[in-house]
Symmetry: C2
Subunit: 332 residues, 2 copies
Amino acid sequence: MSAVPHLTFDVSRLGMIEGHLVVPKGADCEALSLPVISLNKGEGPRLLITGGCHGDELEGPIVARRLVDWLLETQTCGRVVIVPVLNPPAVQASSRNTPIDGLNLNRVFPGRADGSVTERIANAVSRLLLPMADTIFDLHSFGPMWEFPPATTTHPLADPDLMARTIRMAEAFKLPMTMVWEHPETPGMLDLVVQSQGKVFVCAELGGGTVSAEGLAIYEAGLRNALIALGLVEGEAEYPTFRHKKSTQILETQRSSDELKSPASGIFEPRCSVLDNVHEGDLIGILHPMGSLSTDAIDLRAPEMCIVYAIRSGAYVNINEGVALLARPLKR
Amino acid sequence: MSAVPHLTFDVSRLGMIEGHLVVPKGADCEALSLPVISLNKGEGPRLLITGGCHGDELEGPIVARRLVDWLLETQTCGRVVIVPVLNPPAVQASSRNTPIDGLNLNRVFPGRADGSVTERIANAVSRLLLPMADTIFDLHSFGPMWEFPPATTTHPLADPDLMARTIRMAEAFKLPMTMVWEHPETPGMLDLVVQSQGKVFVCAELGGGTVSAEGLAIYEAGLRNALIALGLVEGEAEYPTFRHKKSTQILETQRSSDELKSPASGIFEPRCSVLDNVHEGDLIGILHPMGSLSTDAIDLRAPEMCIVYAIRSGAYVNINEGVALLARPLKR
């Protein structure tokens, strides 16, 4: 058995090929075979679409698979490589991190050949998949415990040309929200590795809460819009309908300081919806301590005029747990 | 310390009283104090509203609390006793069952005074709360992993008079769905204890998936409608808007045989929404086995003309796990 990661097919072959990315076995588990589809129409843009980095975000794996049939009918040039599930053990466990070693795949890039299974997956992706593409779409979501609009996201980038190209690509999805979020430097993220190679990386955060047929249709429309914008497919993009609107807005936020945290442990009651515009003092949610009743409820109010772009599902939360995330229109 | 469950207030007192139901300590944990609100305007219907039986169904605890302020302004007669959280340890753990003894509170009624904590809660509720009411609303939901419409539910009852009164009460919520479901006899459910006393019991299943501000507004409207129908409050009921419609339908189902199960383990992709009418052969969802790609996807189709009343969130499911629940209009 080979101890290096490898693909079971020749990526230069034209047409549709189904194969696998093999991640070698290690001390902690057997080899993994990640299904990969290559749709190759020759010259043109080279795109990689990945999903299932976190095992409790299933929008990506489902939508990535859906694109295959559509691309078979519509693709005119270039190559699209699709890996619906980057982290099969995490998906099978419905857990964010890999259950075998407890690691978050999106914190260990570029990975290690002799590391634990999560690091070996990252290593295989970095060595074999990333070199095949100029543009990468990584499909995430906010997970089941948040209300979150279908969105593409990116971070401020030092290179102004790469920043402009990335934002242009993110906006081409025409999802209800395009988000530029700044958060504390987090080593090991896939985007950092890709961007350090000068490539365009767009992270799609395909909603939160229940993964529904309605939501999936919106996410698929966003991906199709992006493939049309890249020139892989001929056609016209359309704004998907979300909350009765067909529109997009580009927002910015500081992930840490724009987080509304629970002032106590108790039951969080959401009082607004995602993409609601709120003014200073508007009610965003209520925290109900458990041991007593209405007299002790704590109102959580907007600190300033802003847009609520994510809000926790009503649930028991601990003190200092984030319950709402706030943003403002991007100043270009 | 008293070893019997007790209330910290006199339920015959008029006006609003906040107090506690004390569940005695046992070998497994200290005494619990469950917040209780009594709103007493004298003669009239006697209603008990309970929520938080299962710790991952937070719609009930939130909506139950919300009613207090409204009742203070609007109640004209009778008594409403509200217990937002029946099972505080389960709510704090966000788990269906009580984490301390692993028991499902809705399977241990009428409980045991010398049992484990879940049995002691059931015992306290049976002895002290149930005798105070003629009508009981128990607020549940389908939990975070299902799409489910706001609904009231009941079971076929042997007593035709009680059945008629129960259905009348369930329909008075005017939620999008009123469900009569038959499932295998399950001992220990709260409804069975209440119904054996000849009282009206309505289980509200307040949706599934994310607990959102939008959903909570629908559930609150349903509860208000029911309180108006009971005569506790004067006013006019209104159909809440759900999926662009203001309507209700009454359905019936056999919980076990009307369940569409996953034919294999893999990623379930929902292809329809709750309350969709489907014909025989219509696509309800797709099961994607993990190890391979599109060629092995399994279509899950409607076995006959029916209404999809619940559908799983897109997620990894095991073989034989339920992924959709089907119903038909009730034959009266």
